[in-house]
């Protein structure tokens, strides 16, 4: 299952005390379903903002945000929350796992919001952990894992509810080269085999290379860097 993303004429500013700092002025972007897109750019260029808008974590000042046919700009906070569960999976730079839950417990979190039975939840958690290659660490806590393993748990949590869209914010920012490559390969696998649309924000050009389409933010404008046939 995949989701197409469309941003039309997005304007967004941030409040810094009394000042209003404009970040995006009239940005438009189209991502067809099933594409793995990387987004690079200097800090403050607005790339995380785009991620947050696509994920329904934030509202634009004006413009349209259409994900999988849904107009996010017209949804209220509560509706956005409901939409998120099941439509988007987030992967963070610092993993944002619950330290007091086991890996399985962490991965199960999105499923708690559904009506699935306990047995069904456990089954899906096992599948997700299998996909990321951590089936034998299900009962371990984040404190007992390396950075790479923790990120895998983060990815498993992001895919366990089978959302069509994955949003990654510097997923390899805290990992060494070798581990980062593993994680990025995993993302590629999710894109190719499981047809997930992936939007990844990153600093690292080598990470960006793993995507099939590379974008760059420069002074509020998006520039196409590269496109590889999917």
């Amino acid at each position: 299952m995949s989701a197409a993303i469309s941003l039309r004429n997005i304007v967004k500013s941030y409040r810094r005390g009394k000042e209003s700092v404009p970040v995006l002025h009239g940005l438009s972007l189209d991502i067809p379903a099933g594409q793995f897109v990387s987004l690079m750019g200097p800090s403050g260029s607005g790339k995380t903002t785009i991620l947050n808008l696509v994920g329904g974590l934030d509202h634009a000042d004006s413009g349209e945000v259409i994900v999988g046919g849904e107009h996010l700009e017209s949804l209220s906070g509560g509706q956005l929350t409901k939409w998120r569960a099941g439509h988007v999976g987030f992967i963070f730079q610092f993993y944002n796992l619950m330290p007091m839950l086991s890996a399985a417990g962490n991965v199960e979190l999105p499923l708690l919001l559904t009506n699935l039975s306990k047995g069904e939840r456990r089954r899906r958690v096992e599948i997700a952990l299998e996909i990321v290659g951590l089936k034998d660490r299900a009962s371990h806590k984040p404190g007992e894992m390396s950075g790479g393993q923790q990120q895998r748990v983060g990815i498993a949590r992001a895919i366990v509810a089978d959302p069509p869209l994955l949003l990654c914010d510097e997923p390899t920012g805290d990992l060494d080269r070798a581990t980062a490559d593993e994680i990025l390969s995993l993302l590629q696998q999710l894109n190719r085999l499981h047809k997930k649309t992936i939007l990844m924000v990153t600093h690292d050009p080598k990470a960006a290379d793993h995507a099939s389409r590379q974008l760059e933010m420069d002074k509020g404008q998006l520039i196409e860097r590269a496109l590889v046939a999917a």
């Binding site: 995380t48 947050n52 994920g55 974590l57 934030d58 906070g77 509560g78 929350t81 409901k82 998120r84 569960a85 099941g86 987030f90 963070f92 610092f94 944002n96 619950m98 330290p99 007091m100 839950l101 417990g105 979190l109 999105p110 708690l112 919001l113 306990k118 949590r157």
Partner: protein, 384 residues
Amino acid sequence: MKYLPLVWAAIMRKPTRAVLTLLSVMLAFTLFGLTIGMNATFAKVQEESRDDRIFAFARFGGGLPVSLARQIAGMPGVSMIAGTDFMGGYTQDPKNRVFVQMMDENVPKVMNDWPITTAQWQLIRDNRQGLLVSKMQADRWHLKAGDNFTIVVPGIKKADGTTSWKFQVAAITQDINYMSQGYLFGNADYLDKGRILSDQGKIGQFRVKVSDASKTAEIAERIVTVFANSATPLETLTEKVAFDVSSGTGMDIAAVDREVALAGMFMVLFLTANGLAQAVRERFAEFATLKTIGFSDNGVIALVFAEAAIPCLLGAGLGLGVAEIVSNVMPKFLPPGQGLPIPTMTIMVFVWAGFAAAFVAFASSALPALRLRRMDIATALSGR
């Protein structure tokens, strides 16, 4: 429910803090149980006190001539009159204080709500030295039916010049609610005939039963007026007033109880509110993550409330349990005749405790809940 592991993991994140909080809450509720439980006992005693009985005693101390009984019994509205007295002394060692109430033959008819059978009453009439011992007192002095029991009463002059009174235990009887340490009932004749001649013919107090409960206060007043200028002026107390604690010692015990319970709850509120605010602050990013996963505002707030409610309710339950245990042990450590009621954990006490626990949980989670509701997820995720 399915969210329980999540809440539990959150509570046990800092096990020391969780345990200390629980213990503190437990203690506050132990105090709560003892104080409000004592008020519950007061209320129960008040409820169970009869509105058709009056205590009459000498206004200026000393005994009442037994002949007064016939006069009072003859007054309009009085259906029955009984006489009681008491002896305060010790058994074997002055440390072992005992308190024996001496009953005349009409007591069973006036105090017909006491859990003593006619047959048992008859035992101490047949044997003047007989003693009805309630279970609590029997346990205290290790007595069983047939045992001898001697009491030394220094304050009463006996005809034979000694101060010791011999009794035989006639039966072990059921305890009476408001006699918190149990009781010993003897035969009033034994006391009266055993005293020196000049002190005989007297009784300590009368218990008057009226036929029309609506006239009780009126009759009580009339008894005082009739005997006001006699050789033994009387003072009366209706049973309802006598058993009303706030009119007793001059200290409104019920109010003091409530103040203590409140102080304890205030302490707990502060502790819990603080702990929870801190926990939420520490885990703000985690709550943001939950929101990105799709947990609603209300869902996240519910998690926080549960995190407060579980230790509060658990602590309340455990605290009341400890209060119950303490209440059962208390009578052994109090000097007899003290009359301090034993707290009882009635349903109302549990209900009040439940309310208190819920209130503390609500109040504690109020501010953190507000913060979570206002949370800007993007900012929270970016690391505050």
